[in-house]
């Protein structure tokens, strides 16, 4: 099983969710984060002085999937989250050793 962490632009969350649901990947956990990267921060004003805000609002989606689903999930995320503009975000994939569903104590593939 793999963990896919996708950092995306917040307004793409709904689209990504729909794209994943279409693949019958219906479990995910979402976190509000701030990102720092190539995308330049915007400048804000405060009482007549300008300053730059480095950290931009992003959303992180964690999805645990079976190995065979990784590629299509990644493709779905890329397709649905892409705007083509800098700051679209990243996807990180790592290994998960075990999964447990709290309600039933089911494990691994059954628990996803």
């Amino acid at each position: 099983m793999k963990k896919i962490e996708a950092i995306i632009k917040p307004f793409k969350l709904e689209d990504v969710k729909d794209a994943l649901t279409a693949l019958e990947i219906t479990g995910m956990t979402v976190t509000e984060v701030k990102g720092y990267g190539r995308q330049q921060g915007h400048s804000e004003l405060y009482r007549g002085a300008e300053y730059v805000v480095d950290f931009l609002p992003k959303v992180k989606i964690d999805i645990i999937v079976n190995d065979e689903n990784v590629d299509k999930a990644v493709k779905a995320i890329v397709d649905s989250a892409k705007t083509g503009k800098i700051g679209d975000g990243k996807i990180f994939i790592s290994s998960v050793e075990k999964v447990v569903r709290i309600r039933t104590s089911e494990e691994d593939e059954e628990a996803i």
Partner: protein
Amino acid sequence: MQATELQYVIDTFFLIFSAVLIIFMAPGFSMLEAGLVRTKNVTAVLTGNVLLYAVCSFVFLLWGYNLMFGGSGFFLNGVEVTGYSAYAFFFFQMAFVSKTVSIMSGGVSERIKIVPFMSFAILMSGFIYPLVGNWIWAGGFLSDVHDLAGSTVIHSVGGWALLAAILVLGARKGKYTKDGKIRPIPASNIPLVTLGGLLLWIGWFGFNGGSAFNISTKDAADLVGLIILNTNTAGLAGAIVATLIVYFQYKKLDITMILNGALGGLVAITAGADVVGLWEPIVIGAIGGALVVYAVPFFDKFKIDDPVGALSVHLVNGIWGTIAVALFADFSLLAQLKGIVVVGLFTFTISLIIFVVIKKAIGLRSDEEHEYEGLDLEECGVEAYPEFVKSKV
């Protein structure tokens, strides 16, 4: 029943009405300042504001009022009041006093300890303000200064004391970087800032309008109408000019500056709303708004860290407003300047001394660590928005 009795009644009612409007400035200042500081210092600022109202009003009731209006002993004893209820007159005067210190509380916020600040507040409302008030408003040696509702007596006094406080306190950690740059620390909650600014604006109608003290003749009623209208006009002009200056510089509409501009205009008209016509407040307020926009970076340049812009609003415009009376109406510039200088020297010096003494005696400023964590935890033990997980039990 005599007409004079009805006049007495109406003027009493009018003073009560005005005082209540002024007291709306308590939530006004509270919300403005709570919105302008960082979340971690919000409770401390609110606590300071509520305590200020309580402590200053109480001190003024016990002896400050008496001192200011030449009474004898305590409470309202020996202060002669005619034409309206002595209680209402006191209540109106009391509504003023905590404002003088409220002006300061934003400027010293995010680093001052509340208890030492309250000690100063007692001295301010029990001595400094009553003395100055006495000189200008109660037949003292500055009686020839024209200052309707306190451009000098309230706003400059608060402003000078604040300047002294900031010099003794120093800037917030991280406000000025090692290489001398200014790091803006943005407001944490803009709706509160806006609410506070608008409540202050509304309170000002009582502040200035009520300072006419009576409304019960045709002339008096016209004068009150004029004062309130002029007050509002200066606020409008201040807001508009602040808007335009920032807009032409950055192509943005900066609400914190717009509101500060409005407040600047309101401070500026406070000395002379009763002695100018309808267009002068436009000029006075417009200059007031512009002064705020330019004063904010000015103070920052000298590393005088004023988190809410109180010096720019109250001190700078308190001075400007007092001068404006002489420029736009038939009053002696010399007298006005004398008022400004004497009150400024007195208030600044004595405040400086008091703050230095307080600092030595019981400390004035929060520890560095508590400043990082926010004053709310150390001073109040209460976070402003403590919930982490919204639906946590």
